[in-house]
C-alpha cells in the first residue's frame, strides 16, 4: 500500500533518526573516548549558553510572578506566591523553557556546524585523519548536550527564582530568607526529581536531532540552513512530546 509522500518522508525521517540514535548507543560507549573534545563541547554547549539561558530564566521568573500576582491577590492568597512560582518553575517552566532556548541555540548551531562540515568535506577529512567523525563530532556533542542541559536548567531555575523574588519585591515586601523558605517548603522530591530527570532526555533529544540533521545535511549552503532550521523545529517538538511522556510516566509511577 503506497503511503502519501509526506507520510513517507516523515517515516523516513523518524527511521533515520532512530538508526542514528542506535548508532550512538552502539558506538558511543566504546573506546576511544574523545574526552578533550567532550570537554570542549561541554564548554561551548554548556558554559556559553549560560548568559542566554540565565537571561530568559530571570525574565521568566519575574514575569510569571507579576502575572500571577493579581489573580492570587483576588483569592487572598498573595502569600502563596513563592510557593506557586517555585512549583511552576521547578516542575515545568524551568526545564521546558530552558530546553526550548537550548534547542534554539544549540540545536541550530550543531545542525549548522555539522551541516557545513559535511558540505565542505570536513567530516570526510576527519575520517581520513584517523578519526571516527561519528564519535568525534556526534557522540561528544550529544553527550555534552545531555550532560549540560540539566546543569543549565538548575542554574536557570535558581536565577528564575531569584527573578521571582525581585518580582515579589517590586510591589510587596518579602525577605530573601522567608522567600526561599516558602519555596523549599512547597517543594518536595516528587517535584524536583522527575523534572530533573526529564532534562537529561531533553538535552539528549536536542543533541541527537541537531547532529542527525547536520550529519545528514544535503549538499550546498541551502542544505546547511535547512538542517539548522529543521533541527530546531524537530527538537522543539520532541521536547514537548517528551514532556508529555514524562508527565504520563510520573503519573503512572505515582510521583505526582
Amino acid at each position: 500500500m503506497p503511503l502519501p509522500p509526506t507520510w513517507q518522508q516523515f517515516l523516513d525521517e523518524a527511521g533515520g533518526l532512530s538508526r542514528f540514535t542506535g548508532r550512538f548507543f552502539s558506538q558511543g560507549f566504546k573506546p576511544r573516548y574523545e574526552i578533550t573534545e567532550l570537554l570542549r563541547q561541554c564548554y561551548i554547549i554548556g558554559y556559553k549558553s549560560l548568559p542566554l539561558v540565565g537571561l530568559t530564566g530571570f525574565i521568566m521568573g519575574l514575569v510569571l510572578t507579576m502575572q500571577l500576582r493579581p489573580s492570587l491577590i483576588s483569592y487572598g492568597a498573595e502569600s502563596q506566591l513563592p510557593a506557586m512560582v517555585g512549583i511552576a518553575v521547578v516542575r515545568e517552566i524551568g526545564p521546558v523553557i530552558t530546553a526550548l532556548i537550548f534547542a534554539g541555540k544549540i540545536g541550530s548551531s550543531i545542525g549548522a556546524e555539522l551541516g557545513s562540515m559535511k558540505v565542505t568535506e570536513q567530516i570526510d577529512a576527519m575520517e581520513v585523519s584517523g578519526t571516527n567523525p561519528f564519535k568525534y563530532l556526534v557522540v561528544t556533542r550529544v553527550m555534552a548536550a545531555t550532560l549540560m542541559l540539566p546543569v543549565l536548567v538548575i542554574l536557570s531555575d535558581a536565577i528564575s527564582l531569584y527573578g521571582s523574588y525581585l518580582g515579589i519585591n517590586i510591589k510587596g515586601v518579602i525577605s530573601m530568607d522567608l522567600y526561599f523558605k516558602q519555596v523549599f517548603d512547597a517543594l518536595s522530591f516528587d517535584d524536583f526529581v522527575p523534572a530533573f530527570i526529564k532534562t537529561y532526555f531533553f538535552g539528549f533529544a536536542v543533541g541527537m536531532v541537531g547532529c542527525f540533521k547536520g550529519f545528514n545535511s544535503s549538499k550546498g549552503t541551502e542544505g546547511v540552513g535547512r538542517s539548522a532550521n529543521s533541527a530546531v523545529v524537530v527538537s522543539s517538538v520532541l521536547i514537548f512530546i517528551l514532556d508529555l511522556l514524562a508527565v504520563q510516566i510520573t503519573d503512572i509511577l505515582g510521583l505526582n
Binding site: 578533550t36 570537554l39 570542549r40 561541554c42 564548554y43 554548556g46 558554559y47 549560560l50 540539566p150 546543569v151 543549565l152 538548575i154 542554574l155 531555575d157 535558581a158 526561599f180 523549599f184 517548603d185 517543594l187 518536595s188 522530591f189 517535584d191 524536583f192 530533573f196
Partner: protein, 324 residues
Amino acid sequence: MAKRAINNVKLGFFVLAGLLIMIFSLYMIGKDTNMFGSNYTLKVRFENVHGLTSGNNVRYSGIQVGTVKRVKILSDTLIEVSMLIDTKMKQYIHKNDIVSMSTDGLMGNRILNITPAKDGSPLAENGDLLITKKSVSTDEMLETLDKTNKNIRDISQELKLTVLKINNSSALWKLLTEETLPDNLRASSFSIRKAAANADGMVQDLHTIINDLRAGKGSLGSILTDTAIAYNLNEAVLSIQQVGNHADELVRELDDLTKGLKSDVNSGKGPAHAILKDSTLVIKLNNSLSNIEKGTEAFNQNMEALKHNFLLRGYFKRLEKRKK
C-alpha cells in the same frame, strides 16, 4: 593550549555551580522529610486517618520533628501510622505523650501533633506506640453544629409558643398595667422617710443633751458614776442606730424593688414575678414599720427614765421653763 585550560576551568566552575545548587536544594527539600540525619520510629493507631499519607509532617508542641513514614491498615477499624522522628527529640518524647491529628491551616495538609503528657512517664523508645486523642475534625465539628442547630430550632419553637401564650393572656397584661401598686409603694416609702426624720430629730435631741453635759450643766462626776444613766443612754443610742439600720435596709429594698419592677415592665416579662415581689414587699414593709415603731417607743421610754432621774430632773425642768 592555555586557552583550552582556562576554558576547562570555566567549565568546571559552571558545572560545580550547578552541582552545588542542586545539592543545596536537595538538602533544603530533604531537610523536612528526614532523609538526612538519624531518626527513629514511633507508632500510633487511629480509627480514621482522614487522608493522612506518608510524608505528612509530625510536630511536637508545634515544632517540626519528623514525618509520617507509612500508613498501614491493621484491621477494618484500626490503622497504624509509623512516624519518623528526629533522634534529637528522643530526650523529649515520653511514652504517654498524646498524638492528635489536625490540619495545617484551614485547607492545608494533615499533620500529627504530639502533645506532652507531663506525667513523668518514661521516654519513648524506637517502635513504641503512643496514645491518641480523638481530634476534632471538620466533619465532626459540622455534625455537632448540626445537632446544635436542631436544638436551637426546638427551643425557638417553644419560645414562640410561650410568647404567643403570654400575648393571649389578659390577666397578665392587667397586672402589668395596674396603677395602684406603685401608689401604695409610694405611700410606704413616704412613711418610712417620716420615721427616719423622727429618728433624726431624736438623735439631734441627744446631741444637745450630751453637749450640755459636756458644758458642765449638772454634775459631771455624778453622771459618770451613775451607771443607770449610762446604761439608759447606751440603750437609747443603740435603738436609734437600729432604727437607722432598718430604715436603710428598707430604702435599699424599696429601691431594688422599684428597679426590678421597672426593668420587668420595660422588658415586658414576669408579671408573675412582680406579684411575688409584691407580697414579700408588703411583709417586709410591715416588719420595718413595726421595728421603727418599737425603736421609737424604746427611745421614748428611755427619755422618760432620764427625765425622772434626780440628777437630771432640774435640767429638764429648766428646759421646760425656757420653752415657756
